[in-house]
């Protein structure tokens, strides 16, 4: 039951004001934080409160100050309790008119307080002493970790050190933390067995695009307001990038951005409201909202699982056949000879169109008419002959698909073929999940990188450092994985006990014990005692968003802003950059003398290539380049921030942001686009094919796909402490088509167990027609379970990116029932 309030304290005119950015999704909405002492609240007249707003009358809808119950709490600042109001900023170019989502809108309540559920935050380092995690001081924790890391490396080499660390922006991440982690792990410890937070290796999820010369973040939020056609490919922004959808895409769909189009388009160019193409096995909320408004301007393609690249290449072939492609792009902006390879293998130029489309329909299940309609909506010139402006945004549905490399390459090539890059209203990039903030020395491993999950499962590695991620929930085949890591960490704990727990030479005892058997020492930097952290030997409390200064960019505009500290970290919690620097110094490494977050930010900035270049040369800069930017500059710019890559004008030294990329050249070293020829469709990999034959096929009659829920950010590490969210999503759930539900005699709210060879998990049933019969959608992560227990161990040999998004499963009803607080109304009916 959610506790409600009937009164909110107002910030007084002299309240402290901090401009910040939402800690959660890729959209990067601007927020304003007001803090003020208890007992000093303001009044309802405009002159009596820091909003300058008149609360003697109700605020006007969609125009007034947004200040809801969930946007206020009391937390600690400089040791004393203060009111905290975290409200959508009035002047953000991202979340216009104070737009926001249920995730960002509850951030005030995600702050730490000893009398709220966030009291669960870690407040001291914890050491497993005997079999129990006990609080210890930082000095003890740092000395031990430095000695164990150093001891393992000296005795077993760098490859015995393994890690899984975030590389993202936003809450907990950002340039500062990423840089410090990268410097220690890569430069000083030379670790190759490092994986990124949401996958088993150190890789790009979009090498298929970057190798072409296209960094995935090259468009700007305005492009979603200006495009004639928006393609959402395995992306559901209403639920995962909400304000990007409601502030930018929706106004385009309803025609509200016509004036902006008039200003941005060429003279006489046709202007019409947006057409929306959704390519996704699910009829997503993002699609259904548009259908409610004007179904005729929507198109839904549902390829068979894993076949998206075949679909993209078939659409591209239609574009080419109809001569809707951009011949100038191919002639003048392509690397020599590469287009022929694409035309031969991907477009299958040597085969008649009928044959290509017949094959594509057979493999993808998408009817020919839809393939042709998609091609027309993406590339057919507009009335009057102007080139259509199509923006393609993809995310995990495409990235975490079968054959990651070919899939991403096919999508970006389809866009470039039709000239949809570098102009207002075009592009082909990531929607994004979280924000970004990547600056690190180069990864010392090879490409494709080793699979660190498999390495650990195989009993290799002696030390595992987990930084701000919870692989027990999030890694593929998570059930088998966590059983194995648990057994290996327990093996060390048992061995230490056998030797007689050493208090005086603990680090040596640990390294000695690791020499025998397959024990694993695990250290975790975290906000909370997650499932993974609970198995660790050493747990280090991390400071999060609003507790330490950080900087990041969002994905839709590469907008760099400052996210300042405004409350105290819980107890002894420290930012990850501080933790890494302390360990590095204790190990005797140089270059970690940073005193402030800004010191780290600047050190990271200087590690980018020289950005004193002109606009054309800036196309080759890394997408996140920001050298020359200071915190003072960012404070000055507030919500307007600056779009990376930032260059410094060679003459004036002035900082210049980048609105949109690749108008003049691509990001490759020669500035040209490098085409790639897709592999022929190879059928499903053995990890999946085994479920499509014989007795296993009978036992696993469903395709399973996974995704997110509007209310829960990632694993719900904060949201599990928000009662209203747990009321709405009390359990992990699956969406089951009504036809399947009827056949299996399952109703909304029933509990089922979903299973396959990889693992199993219990879910609540929601009956809705988002997926077709024979396909189940499961919530990927929930505090009470993970659908990744079921995913296969397949990874793309070219990239080591898993295919999280589809596998085969069976299900059975659990006997009895559980009362539920969740609404069972269909969440995809608008």
């Amino acid at each position: 039951m959610t506790r409600r309030v009937d009164h909110l304290p107002l910030p007084p005119p002299d309240a402290r004001v901090d401009q910040t950015v939402c800690q959660y999704c890729t959209t990067g909405c601007g927020y304003t934080v007001y803090t003020w002492p208890i007992g000093r609240s303001g009044g309802p007249k405009p002159a009596q409160n820091a909003f300058g707003a008149d609360f003697t009358r109700p605020q006007p809808a969609q125009a007034g100050v947004v200040y809801t119950e969930a946007m206020h709490s009391v937390a600690l600042q400089d040791g004393r309790a203060v009111h905290v109001a975290v409200v959508p900023a009035a002047d953000s170019p991202i979340n216009r008119k104070r737009d926001h989502s249920s995730r960002g809108g509850t951030q005030a309540r995600a702050t730490f307080a000893a009398d709220r559920p966030t009291r669960a935050r870690l407040t001291t380092p914890l050491l497993r002493i005997g079999d129990t995690l006990q609080p210890i001081p930082w000095d003890e924790a740092i000395n031990l970790l430095a000695a164990v890391v150093g001891g393992v490396r000296a005795r077993f080499g760098s490859d015995a050190l393994t890690a899984k660390a975030f590389d993202h922006g936003g809450g907990g991440g950002g340039f500062e933390n990423n840089f410090a982690i990268g410097r220690l792990l890569f430069d000083d410890l030379e670790m190759r067995y490092v994986a990124i937070h949401n996958r088993p290796a150190y890789n790009s999820e979009v090498w298929g695009s970057r190798d072409r010369g296209v960094h995935e973040l090259h468009y700007t939020a305005e492009d979603a307001r200006l495009c004639d056609t928006l393609v959402l490919w395995g992306a559901n922004p209403y639920e995962t990038a909400s304000a990007f959808y409601t502030s930018h895409m929706l106004p385009n769909f309803t025609g509200e951005t016509a004036v902006e189009k008039r200003a941005a388009f060429d003279d006489g160019e046709a202007i019409a409201p947006l057409r929306l193409v959704v390519i996704d096995p699910r009829a997503t909320a993002s699609l259904e909202i548009a259908r409610r408004i004007d179904r005729a301007r929507t198109l839904h393609l549902r390829p068979n699982p894993g076949t998206d690249y075949v679909l993209a290449d078939a659409i591209a072939r239609v574009v080419y056949e109809r001569r809707w492609h951009d011949a100038g792009m191919i002639e003048r902006r392509s690397a020599d000879g590469t287009f022929d390879d694409y035309a031969t293998k991907s477009l299958r130029r040597g085969t008649a169109l009928d044959g290509v489309l017949a094959d594509a329909t057979r493999i993808t299940g998408v009817p020919r008419a839809q393939i042709e309609q998609a091609a027309a909506w993406m590339a057919e010139p507009k009335p009057g002959g102007a080139r259509r402006r199509t923006l393609t945004l993809y995310e995990k549905g495409l990235i975490w698909n079968y054959k990651n490399y070919d899939t991403i390459a096919a999508a970006v090539q389809l866009a470039v073929l039709a000239g949809n890059i570098g102009r207002p209203g075009t592009g082909c990039g990531r929607q994004g999940g979280h924000q970004e903030g990547y600056v690190r020395p180069p990864y010392p491993g090879e490409r494709p990188p080793p699979n660190v999950d498999q390495y650990l499962i195989d009993g290799k590695g002696k030390l595992f450092w987990v930084i701000g991620t919870n692989p027990y929930r999030s890694t593929p085949r998570a059930q088998a994985y966590r059983k194995r890591i648990h057994a290996r960490t327990q093996a060390l704990t048992t061995a230490l006990g056998r030797a007689g727990e050493s208090a005086t030479r603990r680090a040596d005892a640990i390294v000695d014990a690791l020499a025998e058997g397959d024990g694993l020492f695990m250290v975790v930097n975290e906000l909370y005692l997650t499932a993974t952290a609970a198995d660790a030997h050493l747990v280090l409390p991390a400071a999060g968003w609003g507790e330490a200064d950080l900087t990041s960019i969002n994905c839709n505009s590469r907008l760099l802003r400052l996210y300042p500290a405004f409350v105290d970290p819980p107890g002894e919690a420290k930012p990850d950059w501080w933790i890494m620097a302390r360990v590095a110094r204790a190990m005797g490494f140089d270059g970690y003398g940073w005193k402030t977050a800004e010191d780290v930010f600047r050190a990271g900035g200087e590690s980018f290539p020289d950005n004193r270049v002109d606009a054309v040369a800036a196309e080759a800069l890394p997408a996140e380049t920001y050298a020359g930017v200071t915190y003072a500059e960012l404070r000055e710019r507030g919500q307007q921030g600056i779009q990376t890559p930032v260059r410094r004008d060679p003459k004036t030294g002035a900082l210049v942001g980048t609105t949109r990329r690749y108008s003049a050249r691509f990001g490759s070293s020669d500035g040209l686009f490098h085409w790639y020829g897709s592999d022929p469709w190879p059928g499903y990999p053995p990890q999946i094919q085994k479920y499509l034959e014989g007795a296993r096929a009978k036992a696993h009659p469903f395709w399973l796909t996974t995704g997110r829920n509007q209310f829960l950010w990632q694993t719900g590490y904060h949201d599990r402490h928000q009662p209203a969210k747990l009321d709405a999503v009390p359990l992990p759930y699956i969406e089951l088509n009504p036809a399947d539900a009827e056949r299996l005699k399952l109703g909304g709210g029933d509990l089922v167990e979903v299973f396959n060879d990889e693992g199993n998990a219990a879910f609540q049933v929601r009956v809705l027609d988002s997926t077709p019969p024979g396909q189940i959608f499961a919530l990927q992560y929930h505090p009470k379970g993970t659908a990744n227990a079921l995913t296969s161990a397949y990874t793309d040999p070219k990239t080591t990116i898993p295919w999280y998004k589809a596998t085969r499963v069976g299900l059975r009803k659990l006997a009895g029932e559980l009362p539920t607080t969740a609404s069972l109304l269909p969440a995809n009916r608008f």
């Binding site: 039951m1 959610t2 409600r4 309030v5 009937d6 009164h7 909110l8 304290p9 107002l10 208890i38 007992g39 609240s41 309802p44 007249k45 609360f55 003697t56 009358r57 109700p58 605020q59 006007p60 809808a61 969609q62 007034g64 947004v66 200040y67 809801t68 119950e69 969930a70 946007m71 008119k97 104070r98 737009d99 926001h100 989502s101 249920s102 809108g105 509850t106 209403y238 909400s242 304000a243 409601t246 929706l250 909320a285 909202i289 409610r292 509007q710 209310f711 209203a724 009321d727 709405a728 607080t821 969740a822 609404s823 109304l825 969440a827 995809n828 009916r829 608008f830």
Partner: protein, 156 residues
């Protein structure tokens, strides 16, 4: 007295009646909204509470729900202002839907936002039956666009 909640304040001061009853506001019963006997499932009744600027919906669900009143425990009422940015929600197919950014709320689950961008459930109107008529007596949750469910601009 900015930091005590209203009920504590009323209890401590014993001032519940005098100061507040002179204006419309929570804690003051509304005029009758509808006759209980005439309220039918699928026929929601609009009304205002605690004042004319706060539209609400009264409805009979046809199935009992936690906190529902009436002989069947199925009569409920909610603020009609979306808790996202204050647009008036519509009643459609047994749920509330906001026309601005499509947040949806379930009247059978305490106004839970089960889809959409709103950060809190819809505020729930406390109801009583008096002489066969339904009246509103309080508001559980903050009406959008206000910092107080009491008399606007006053009270604290």
């Amino acid at each position: 007295m900015p930091d005590l909640d209203r009920r504590t304040w009323i209890k401590l001061t014993g001032l519940a009646g005098a100061a507040l009853a002179s204006k419309p506001g929570v804690g003051v019963a509304s005029p009758p909204i509808a006759r209980l006997a005439e309220l039918k499932p699928g026929r929601p009744v609009p009304f205002s509470y605690p004042d004319a600027a706060s539209p609400c919906w009264l409805m009979r669900l046809g199935a009992p729900t936690a906190g529902g009143i009436g002989p069947d425990g199925d009569v409920v009422a909610y603020s009609a202002l979306c808790t996202h940015q204050g647009c008036p929600v519509a009643v459609e197919d047994g749920r509330f839907i906001c026309p601005c950014h499509y947040s949806q709320f379930d009247p059978a689950r305490g106004g839970q936002c089960y889809q959409g961008v709103a950060s809190t459930p819809l505020p729930r109107v406390q109801l009583e039956v008096r002489d066969g008529a339904i009246v509103a007596t309080g508001m559980d949750g903050l009406v959008w666009g206000r910092v107080d469910d009491g008399p606007l601009g006053g009270g604290r």
